[in-house]
């Protein structure tokens, strides 16, 4: 047994080496002839596909697959979608290794992602230096596209199709102050960049307008928030709960009622999933109205539901469709400009900023702002959950 195992081992190691060599792409010292737009080009989605955040990544992946399936043939492109897994439990390392992988392959011309702000920060330099456009559907850390405290963590090759925390935070807080007329607010963060950034923005706005703010912090692995619910004062007006897991928002809302707290729930875009978070009375802010209500999206939603039976439309998926659409449009424009040939992926990068999309999946039309790589005139909409669980636009 041992001898055979040793032999098996040797074979395995040899094939591993061979496999890596065979699959290992060549350097980005681009081939002189360029890439023909009739050949198969590759794009990669970089998102957490396993681990605690897998629900986010898998949802994004399904929408990206749909976009490639529908849009690429219509644009006359042959696109292969690669999948890169950046589990949040493993920190920044997978993102950087994946960046190397895609940068080394001259056929890879664009990235959808990285989905998490941490991964984006860790790998943006690599992508920028290699001229690879990376369009994120969900990384909202403000300093990825804005200069904060004199530093900007994202590079000019980083784009995103959703607005940043510095838009959402003040919008939410302004609604709380002006419309809900709050006096006492409890804000939460979950010890990770998204909620910390958002909660910080809301805290500073509220404090500047004389609202009393209690800030609570829960570890990201918390499942049962009962004790935190207990900490919410009975006379708090609003609890700001920026979770990225809608079921957690639902549970928290139910536990508030269970413990007899009168506070109203207010969540961010991460909780916008009517199928999972629908406790009446709560508020949700999102960068887009509910896409199931947009007439031009009916076909897309139907197609997605057909490919993904039994799954529900969430808030992370449609922006990924949009990001893929932007990338594919940029590729197509670069191909047209290059008369059927792409010299390198830098051509695609140059085209991204100019992309305009008419029937944007999130409603209206889409273009990038001239000042930053964020969407132009991005605003957040406030929704209130009605007694039948549907979301109604209120602000």
């Amino acid at each position: 047994m041992k001898k055979a195992l040793g032999f098996a081992l040797a074979v395995l190691v040899a094939s591993a080496a061979a496999g890596t060599a065979q699959g290992g792409p060549k350097t980005a010292a681009a081939p002189a002839a360029g890439l023909s737009c009739k050949s198969t080009l590759k794009i990669a989605i970089v998102t957490p596909l396993t681990g605690q955040a897998a629900f986010l990544g898998q949802e994004q992946l399904s929408w990206a697959k749909l976009a490639v399936k529908q849009l690429a043939p219509a644009m006359g492109l042959r696109i292969q979608l690669l999948q890169g897994d950046t589990p949040v439990e493993q920190g920044a390392n997978p993102a950087q290794t994946l960046a190397q992988k895609y940068v080394s392959d001259s056929r890879t011309v664009g990235i959808i992602g990285p989905s998490t702000s941490g991964a984006a920060v860790a790998s943006s330099q690599t992508y920028f230096q290699a001229g690879m456009a990376h369009i994120s559907p969900s990384a909202t850390k403000t300093d990825l596209t804005y200069t904060v405290d004199g530093k900007r963590e994202g590079t000019p090759a980083f784009f995103r199709v959703i607005p940043a925390d510095n838009v959402q935070g003040p919008t939410d807080a302004a609604y709380m102050v002006k419309t809900l007329k709050v006096k006492k607010v409890v804000t939460f963060d979950f010890q990770e960049p998204y909620s910390q950034g958002l909660a910080a923005a809301v805290d500073s706005y509220l404090k500047a307008h004389g609202v009393s703010v209690t800030h609570l912090s829960a570890p990201n692995t918390t499942s049962d928030y009962s004790s935190y619910v207990t900490k919410v004062p009975n006379d708090a007006d609003v609890v700001f709960f920026p979770t990225q897991q809608p079921p957690a928002a639902q549970t928290f809302a139910e536990q508030l009622v269970e413990q007899g707290k009168k506070a109203t729930m207010f969540s961010g875009d991460g909780s916008d999933t009517p199928a999972q978070y629908n406790k009446p009375g709560g508020y949700v802010s999102n960068f887009a109205p509910d896409i199931t209500g947009i007439a031009s999206d009916k076909a897309v939603i139907a197609a997605w539901k057909k490919d993904n039976p039994g799954k529900q439309v969430g808030s992370f998926g449609p922006p990924t469709y949009g990001a893929t659409q932007v990338l594919l449009t940029a590729i197509k424009n670069a191909c047209t400009a290059g008369h059927g040939t792409l010299k390198s992926r830098k051509d695609v990068l140059r085209q991204v900023k100019k992309v305009r999309i008419k029937n944007w999946i999130l409603g209206g039309s889409f273009r990038f702002s001239t000042k930053t790589n964020d969407p132009l005139n991005a605003k957040f909409y406030i929704f209130k959950i009605q007694s039948d669980g549907s979301y109604k636009l209120v602000g």
Binding site: A16, Q58, G118, Q191
Partner: protein, 489 residues
Amino acid sequence: MTDSTPRDLHIPAEGPAVGQDEWVARHTERRLVRGGRLGVVEQRLRAAPWWAWLVLFAAAASLIPVVESSGYVRRVGFDTVIFMLLALGLNVVVGWGGLLDLGYIAFYGVGAYTYAIFDSDKFGMHLPTIVAVPAITIVGALVGLLVGLPSRRLSGDYLAIVTLFFLELFETVATNGNQIFGHDITGGANGILGVDPLSFFGHQLAVQHNGIFAVSYYYVAVALFLVVFVALRFVNLSRVGRAWRSLREDPLAAEVMGMPVNWLKLTAFATGAAVAALTGTLATALSASVFPLNFSPVVLITVYAMVILGGSGSQAGVALGAVLVNVLLQLLQNPDQARVLFYLLVVVGVITAFRWSRTLAVVSAATVALGFAVHAVVSSIDKTWATIGHSGFSGVLSHWVVVPGALAPWVGQVSYGVLIAAALAVTQLRGVPRLVALPPTIYLAAFVWENVMLPNPGPTRYIVLGLLLIVLMIARPNGLLGERRVEIV
């Protein structure tokens, strides 16, 4: 290659000498000697001097970037060498000292964060590498001493738990370190960014050129690995190493014989921690950033799997384990390479089970024939139930495996469950029933692999890793290059 056992034990032909326990003395002889050509080869390989292997490794490692100019391969190489270094450090604590340290990654994190603090804009410090690296190694050793202090009172599983708590403690401090009495020390969940690269004599070593990984870091890593390997080997062969071995084999006997057991435990912790901190420095310099989640229990588990799989106690073994696990995880990310790997594993597994015999031929022929038969039947019922691919290996395979155009989810779930049941049953059967059950099981495995697992490479990676761990532990519980040891519990 098995550094944990001294090779210079002299056993006279007429029997062991007076004063030497016979059973202990004959330990080295008890290694199973294989017959045949492979046995002879193994004997010759074992007789080679230890540094020959090291030179061979160094040569092979140096040649990889020459052969492969892809930045990705080099980066994977770098990651692998980092894991090999971590495995070496863990080997000191677990393999040589026999202490179950579940907080090891915290030392890696301490080294990483200290380097980020010493060499970034966070506090405006920019120490040159020559100064920073030894300082951090010492810091790591001190923290190791600190964490090792409970080992004086605790042993075995209890020590494991306390060290695990230390790891959780470190994670909490790192994640919330932006609010320590109003001071921002560790940057919190956003980590520390803009860490300097390594600099030698005022000349900074750039981390990437046009986005491509700088191969100089790979060579630095390999050089570091060689230095640490040799240094640890000499430590192992010294008095301290022998004392650690005695501590590992039977702590009570060691204490009774007058070994300074507490001091030994502390030095084991400190040495492992120093290696980990050193590794943290290098890794952080390359990624120019540090985040608290880089040091989560998942990373700890990965390093442990590497160490135990490779054979704890054997430096070459743990290095091999690191290579295997990391390369496997990377290969499985890419569906094409994963496919090749799967079929290779199946072929190797079948050959291992049956050797070169008639049974092997029968089983292989049956599997292939069954596949074609099923494929023909299915495609005659409905063409869309068996799509034919066009390109390369997967195209050829699609003539054998049934790959439906659209698969209802329940088919995937049910076939996966049936496959598990069938595979477990096959391990229990013997003789003819086993031979009969094997071809359908293999075919079903191929079906599940192509239709359920490959389209989802994320979780598939870890499923394959998990299965590999189980199978390899059962096949070789002492690890690949480990030694049969009798454990005194």
